[in-house]
């Protein structure tokens, strides 16, 4: 059976329940994209009903159809250019008067329209009864249906009514009378515009009205048309004449007239029992935005969100990391050594794992944001924080993404989409990497532990965090005054009533965002991880300064010889295993040593605990010795030689890896940038680490570990700490400078990828990389050179 296809566009005020209806009707059958050239999201869904197939477009929520916001322009252009078969205007019945203001403007577009009175239950609870047929009558017979979106009631009937309305190709002739002066001006304009009408598609009367309102967008598209010059000039003349007659801007007069009309309609159709009732929502609001408790409650909620995303999110992230580590080992054990194995294990599996570890946090972030938004608290958060954030050119809502920046820039940048104004969004995106994210923390802690006395460690760390926040404020103000200057976004914002969100809408919202992250950012992160793998592993054939393989063979030979001379010969045996008692003793001693090594792995050698364990170990060994006086010396010697060989081999292996990195492309890059970072006190080794650190900030640490020939290192590593402390090139001042640089310089790859996704262009991530690194250089230069002048750093 072929179904009749009908496209329906959903239009309505923000918070009218439009998206809930869209989600409930289309279920999972949705497609999310972007409108060309703007960051406004385009959502399309499908639904089959009887013999009809509906393609439903969820247009952005708007209050009006002016040219002041992207959303409004997208909405009206879509209706006129894409010509959906029918437009469904979702009205919040509990807030009908303001909702009808948009309806009037939709009617003026002369397109088949259906009104869906949504949330009639809420309205009735508030004591508001709406007379549907009267409403339809007041608006020239525009059909009206009732829906309760949250319970998915009336939505099938809505679609059927929409299908019926789509047949009315003729306009229903609705015309709002704007008074003699305006009507006269419209009459004068219409004949001029009729010739252009074919090219512009908008209805002539609407076009005339918009020109009288001095609509920038319409004027621009008119000027593009040939033979329009005289028309535009004539229009301007008529508009100016008219505004003199009216004594105010035409657009404001027209808006006033619309509201007057809407007010009259509302009085006829609504039966309001108690206009001044204090709603439950008002009561909740009295507590949540209370002068005294408002701020503490806000910070408490932010604490909960932060912990949800990072503390709880870290648990499954850890599982994913472990699972990918195991997978890497498993595949590594099946594949034979070589570049392919390295690519699969280190490049691909490492990269995919890296992408997926972000997923739990991101899902939880969007869960939190969905709940905050759907309950109506988000608007209050902006209300509470606006005054503080405005001081440095940000919006009240910017606070939440910035706070998330303490955990990770990826959710911070993704979270900034809650800001509707593109300027506020861009500033927030650009400054959020200045927060000290959790990946930078291990770099700080190791450097601080290596170079600073424990008594000042806390202050040093705190100063870095504060530096980030101060820079963020300065940069935000600078951006507001330079790149994103212009009229500041007004804070004229609806505070929607508190509502209990539906699980379905929260889950859908969460899923939609998270899958977008996986699809868009994920692929970029993966590609970049493979690139970094290549840079740190190639060229594969390098000329080493020493022949490591020969050195290893030599070490093994020396070992075999010493074992024979010192252990086997005196006992007259060929192999240790020939003497069962000796074998048992060796493994006994090795067990004691292993146990000690494991227990002390994270302890300082001069700590009391270490001394205690050391004493215990000696005691155990002495006990073994007294029990086996004749064989103990041989066994101990054998253990010593064996572990000596292991150490030697590991050392050679690490030295080789370090040298390989030094000669790899990233090592060459490190040397290449050395002259540029010399004035900051950094040598090429820091350079390599910083270059590698662009993949993820914590990589700075592991790369240093490789360069200092230490093998695998992490933030608990005391060996790296010691190696750093012994490096003559490093001192507390350089260490501090390095922390400053790591704080500020280029956001990591994942953040850059998400930036690309959120801004829809490579321009901004490129800018962020360059400005971040330049800013880092300048600030670090001041810190390092200033510190040297003050006599630190020797």
């Amino acid at each position: 059976m072929t179904r009749k296809k009908i496209t329906a566009a959903l239009v309505g005020n923000p918070n009218s329940g439009k998206t809930t209806i869209f989600n409930n009707v289309t279920g999972g059958r949705q497609h999310v994209g972007n409108y060309p050239g703007v960051t406004v999201e385009k959502k399309e869904g499908y639904k089959n009903l009887g013999d009809k197939e509906f393609a439903i477009i969820d247009l952005p929520g708007t209050y009006s159809l002016t040219a002041y916001s992207q959303e409004e322009v997208v909405t009206r252009n879509f209706i006129v250019n894409d010509k959906p078969d029918v437009v469904i205007d979702i009205l919040d019945a509990s807030n009908l008067e303001r909702n009808l203001y948009l309806t009037v403007q939709l009617l003026e577009l002369e397109h088949p329209l259906l009104l869906a009175l949504n949330m009639v239950d809420v309205a009735e609870d508030l004591g508001v009864k709406i007379n549907d047929s009267k409403l339809s009558q007041c608006l020239n017979g525009t059909p009206v249906v009732r829906t309760i979106g949250v319970r998915n009631e009336g939505t099938d009937a809505m679609l059927l009514a929409a299908a019926e309305a789509s047949g009315n190709k003729q306009s229903n002739g609705f015309k709002l009378d704007y008074g003699n002066d305006v009507e006269e001006a419209i009459k004068k304009l219409e004949p001029l515009l009729i010739t252009l009408h074919n090219e512009i598609k908008f209805p002539v009367r609407w076009l005339a009205l918009k020109l009288l309102e001095n609509d920038a967008n319409i004027k621009k598209s008119l000027i593009k048309l040939s033979s329009s010059d005289s028309v535009v000039n004539e229009c301007d003349k008529i508009r100016i004449d008219l505004s003199h007659k009216l004594g105010e801007d035409v657009e404001l007069f027209v808006a006033g007239q619309r509201y007057q009309f809407v007010g009259k309609v509302y009085q006829q159709i609504a039966d309001v029992r108690d206009a001044h009732a204090i709603t439950t929502s008002d009561k909740i609001d009295k507590v949540l935005t209370n002068r005294l408790f408002g701020l503490p409650i806000f910070f408490g909620l932010m604490w909960v969100v932060f912990n949800l995303v990072f503390t709880i999110g870290d648990i499954p992230s850890g599982w994913i990391e472990d699972a990918f580590g195991k997978l890497g080992e498993l595949i590594g054990s099946v594949m034979s050594d070589g570049p392919l194995k390295s690519l699969v294990v280190d490049g691909i599996i490492g990269g995919v794992g890296g992408v997926l570890t972000f997923v739990p946090g991101i899902i939880l972030l969007f869960l939190a944001i969905s709940i905050l938004e759907d309950t109506g608290y988000m608007a209050r958060a902006a209300f509470i924080m606006d005054r503080m954030m405005r001081k440095f050119g940000l919006h009240g809502k910017s606070f939440i993404p910035l706070l998330l920046g303490f955990g990770c820039s990826v959710p911070a940048i993704m979270g900034s989409r809650m800001l509707e104004n593109p300027r506020d969004r861009m500033i927030t995106i650009l400054v959020s990497p200045l927060m000290s994210c959790s990946a930078k923390l291990p770099v700080y802690t190791v450097l601080i532990a290596a170079f600073f006395d424990p008594s000042v460690a806390g202050n040093v760390l705190f100063s870095i965090y504060i530096l980030g926040i101060v820079l963020l404020m300065i940069m935000a103000s600078i951006y507001r005054k330079t790149l994103f200057k212009g009229e500041s976004e007004p804070f004229v914002m609806e505070l929607p009533p508190y509502r209990i969100p539906t699980i379905k809408s929260i889950v859908l919202h969460m899923w939609e965002r998270s899958s977008l992250y996986l699809k868009k950012a994920g692929t970029i992160i993966l590609a970049a991880s493979i690139l970094m793998w290549f840079l740190t592993n190639y060229p594969s054939e390098v000329e080493y300064s020493k022949d490591y393989d020969a050195l290893t063979v030599q070490a093994e030979e020396t070992y075999t010889q010493q074992v024979r001379e010192d252990v086997l010969a005196p006992l007259n045996i060929e192999d240790v295993e020939q003497n069962e008692q000796l074998t048992a003793l060796v493994s006994e001693i090795q067990d004691v040593n292993t146990e000690f090594d494991e227990a002390t792995a994270e302890l300082e050698e001069d700590s009391a605990e270490y001394a205690e364990l050391d004493a215990a170990k000696t005691e155990k060994l002495q006990l073994i010795e007294t029990e086996n006086p004749e064989l103990y010396a041989s066994a101990a010697k054998y253990v010593e030689l064996t572990s000596g060989l292991e150490e030697e081999k590991t050392h050679l292996e690490n030295e080789k890896t370090g040298e390989k990195l030094e000669r790899s492309y990233s090592g060459q890059l490190g040397k290449f940038v050395e002259p540029a970072i010399r004035p900051l006190g950094f040598d090429w080794r820091v350079g390599v680490s910083l270059v590698a650190g662009v993949t993820a900030k914590e990589v700075v640490l592991s790369t240093m570990g490789t360069i200092y020939s230490l093998g695998e290192t992490d933030e608990n590593s005391k060996s790296l700490k010691h190696a750093l402390a012994q490096d003559p090139n490093l001192n507390p001042l350089v260490a501090y400078s390095l922390m400053v640089f790591v704080l500020i310089y280029s956001p990591c790859l994942a953040a850059l990828a998400v930036m690309k996704r959120e801004t829809n262009s490579w321009k901004w991530p490129a800018f962020s990389l360059l400005y971040g690194t330049a800013l880092a250089w300048v600030v670090t230069f001041i810190v390092y050179q200033g510190g040297k002048l003050l006599g630190f750093g020797s």
Partner: protein, 76 residues
Amino acid sequence: MSKVLSELLPGEKGTVKKVTGNSMIKRRIIDMGVVAGAVIEVQKYAPLGDPMEVKVKGFNLSLRKKEAEMIEMETA
């Protein structure tokens, strides 16, 4: 008595006489239903003293004091 909206205290109400000022913010304010004749009641000020929350045409609207200064009110 004639006042601007930002001078009103929580609980006070009045009728909008006129919206002054520049056209972008003014347009936003008017689109939200703050037109001559509309009744506005101040609900509260944010914990830090700004912005403010008002009730107009049955819904709650927040705006900064600077924006509220553009709204001329007639109070009882």
